[in-house]
Point group: D2
Chain length 294, copies 4
């Protein structure tokens, strides 16, 4: 879930409410807040806590809330997890403590030491591009045996890696394996993913829920049809401006154009303007999809 903002450190509270309704009506089975798409590590702790408050209040007992608590400082990460537990969240999700280079062995020792200290079930977050570290497949398998580690969200977009991880974890079916990049949602579900955490679902939740269901049911014609729509969105919305930030800037721009929430961004990014913004507007209009699925 994105974090709707009216300024770099100002929550769009009304937009957040609309986005939550939009997602719930779109049939999502859970909410993942303050991840990379949520700009979590870029937000002040004040604002992260505000988001946790409002989302947990909204979700109540209807939707489990997973909270991103990645930080370079373990203590701050644990304290945010305490806060999420206090507000009724279901689980926390965290990367390795990026900034500090680690070997696989160091990372695993670290997890052994600290995972019991989290006040909520812990999901690992594999995100090599952002944190400069890839959770090795065997490391993931070992981590799955730690008492408080409940799942892995892989945002690497690397199908070979995902296949290897899924293979190693077949003997641990209750360990939750989630995929990030929507371009490979169907393939990863076929390989054993238990769900998708797709940024585009902020915009068209029904589409992504539909694609997940089709993949789970192995309904090939439906997979083909919906996968094509997903790729079209990726192509039209996530491709403007420098490569590293184009996905995030595209999705927030589209959400604003669709009237769902304000599109301001936390530092270090800034909202798309001018021609890229207009192109996204035209793309949204052209996709018949928009009218029915938003």
């Amino acid at each position: 879930m994105v974090t709707p903002l009216t300024g770099p450190d100002d929550l769009d509270a009304a937009g957040l409410e609309r986005l939550l309704q939009h997602l719930e009506q779109g049939g999502v089975s859970a909410l993942f807040i303050l991840g990379t798409t949520g700009e979590g590590p870029g937000l002040s702790y004040r604002l992260r806590r505000e988001v946790i408050d409002r989302v947990c209040d909204y979700a109540g007992d209807r939707l489990p809330v997973l909270v991103g608590v990645a930080d370079t400082s373990l203590v701050e990460s644990l304290l945010l997890a305490d806060y999420a537990a206090r507000k009724g969240a279901a689980a926390v999700v965290t990367t390795c403590p990026y900034y500090f280079p680690m070997s696989q062995g160091e990372y695993l020792s670290f997890l052994e030491r600290v995972s019991p200290d989290y006040a909520l079930p812990l999901f690992l977050y594999n995100l090599p591009r952002h944190v400069g570290f890839s959770i090795g497949a065997k490391t993931a398998r070992c981590a799955a045996d730690l008492p408080n580690v409940w799942g892995l969200k892989d945002s690497s977009g690397d199908l070979d890696y995902f296949r290897e991880v899924a293979g190693l974890l077949r003997e641990r079916p209750e360990f939750s394996l989630l995929n990030g990049p929507e371009q490979i949602l169907a393939e990863t579900v076929a390989m054993g993913a238990h769900g998708g955490v797709c940024g585009g679902a902020n915009l068209y939740p029904k589409l992504y829920v539909g694609l997940y269901n089709a993949a789970r049911d192995r309904n090939e014609p439906e997979i083909k049809r919906l996968h094509k729509q997903v790729l079209e969105i990726c192509d039209l919305v996530y491709t403007h401006g420098p490569d590293g930030s184009s996905y995030l800037r595209g999705i927030k721009c589209a959400l604003e154009l669709a009237g769902i929430c304000a599109g301001a961004m936390a530092e270090p990014y800034s909202a798309l303007t001018g021609e890229p913004r207009e192109k996204i507007g035209r793309a949204l209009a052209a996709m018949g999809l928009l009218a029915t699925s938003v």
Copy 2:
């Protein structure tokens, strides 16, 4: 400067005092706290503030204090800079907001927007290995024209890069250019560096002050003699355990063995034990250096 710890979130206050005296007596011209060697991004904000308090109290008007304020969240970075300003620090040092991939243009726009918001003079921190982003030489030159950007600390260890940056900044001699890696201290001073911020100086401040002075005075025999000692330290102290953390674990281990301060580490790292620790102990004993220079 390292952050002396008795546990992952516990300052060694007495050791900090001894380390500060050791550095002052060693002739350092300023203190840089909460950088990478200071494990800054790995410490809780509570502890970072405690370090700022104690170091600024100690330093008084005798030694300028530069404070590392790197964070993925700009707002938290600014608030820590406010705190440092309140306590009397001289400047702050910050990397790009790692985690978020940026282009050179995005980084420069970001600096233009936010550098005036820092409550103290700002030094940029180039640290590609830890943050996955290298401040381009031309970007550094442009940043030097921003009103509140006063210097650059380069920890890349890349001599070609340093030469290019130093060349571009020759027309801005008041812009402070500092080098991190001690292995290239003499070369970078020859190229125009105004100072060195060397981790080994925690252990042997006189040696590094001496090497800097020799390099500044182009005293080749002295450079040769001291540079050899520095390389010996690097070789004997920084080479144990996985590569990414071996320098930091080595230096803290050596400081503890030298009786200067406790050697515990903040998560995600752990202190060296067993054979590596013994090797460092033997190396410190063997270097005649130890007795006179610590």
Copy 3:
């Protein structure tokens, strides 16, 4: 200004926006947030910062914002003042550090030591009922000579005290003297108050602005007419439930009934319900005032 809340730790952001528009259209000359009426000391620091952000964003250069920064811990108070300065507030207002019993001399020494440390002009806040300490008239006179002390807000409701303070401060006309309780607004302006900070102005800003203007202009018939309306509000709105909290619970209830903002309260208080609430509703309806002045 009250802090509109939807729950004990949840800001009513849309209601805050409406309240700010309502006050601006009502002609107020400044905003005082996070005071007693704003439940400031009862709010989490997260929420206090959110309020500062949103109000300063709204006010821009049009309305000066005074921020309540009372805390038993001076350090926390100073840090909140830093935050307010960063966000563009005009001044801060603080009580003595309640909880700790003080003599007049101790309070004055304390002010001498700490007032220069505030990042913004400082207003003192006399509030004997809440903090168990009354700023003596002579103490106030001495404090007015401290470089960063710019004014006094008296919420004691004690006319003799106000007269004495105003007399002592006549030789310091640039020192800002403000009165809290609306029942004595006209009298205190006659004695030399430079303004009123009246809780009822949340509901009927034009009425209180009008009464202040009439008092300043010594327009007796107008004073009489408007003062009567103010007393009617006090009588009908602020008199339900236990005495200590009846004013605050009444005003928040009335604001909700008037459709201006949500009426939830921070702990330790709870919103009025049942018969008291209905009485306030009937009172608002009965006052012809309501339709035209809200």
Copy 4:
């Protein structure tokens, strides 16, 4: 327990260690930190957390730690309790949310709402002088039936009140009833107090432990002998400077003179100097007590 400080916001870590050893050797059965004697509400949250860390580290499984978490903001109080729970504290102690006037009924409703939210067993703290509110005896009796309310620390010094409370709570013997003022320790134990939380025990723990034991065993001659010594300390140490702060300033001064820890004070107070300090020094020297019991 006092909070040893070298400056208004600087912990005396070495002095804290010595004080803890002194108390443990003195035979105390638990530690109460960050109460009024600990200047808790006057310390920054950074420092309060540092104190919790260091004391819980020291105490381990040997001594239960009770942590004062009084704050005008319930949310901050709960978050500090979370922190204390994370660090291994045994219980938290809190006053009513002072600043906000309350009726007995409002206070009880408040406790019913919020006591289950504390992450640790909760002790109530009756402290009328500092918070302007007295927990009524019947209110205390009702509160004792709330699931997470485990005890009451009464610092009122009012024997009639204590007798009434003890009488009402006789049917709830597992509810912990503690007395603050050392002048009435023996009497309150005779009335049913389960323990004493006496400021003077910072200085002479064996004396207060001895007096408690004598009172528990109804050993009248011993009670008489030790009670006299306690009164002598009260008379010689707690009587310098303005009445509201004389106890706290006296005890910190004495601790410094006794070489146990630094005697700086958090704002708004300042350390005793000059003649009062010398008087306390002479008193400590004169009491034969000093040499053997400190």
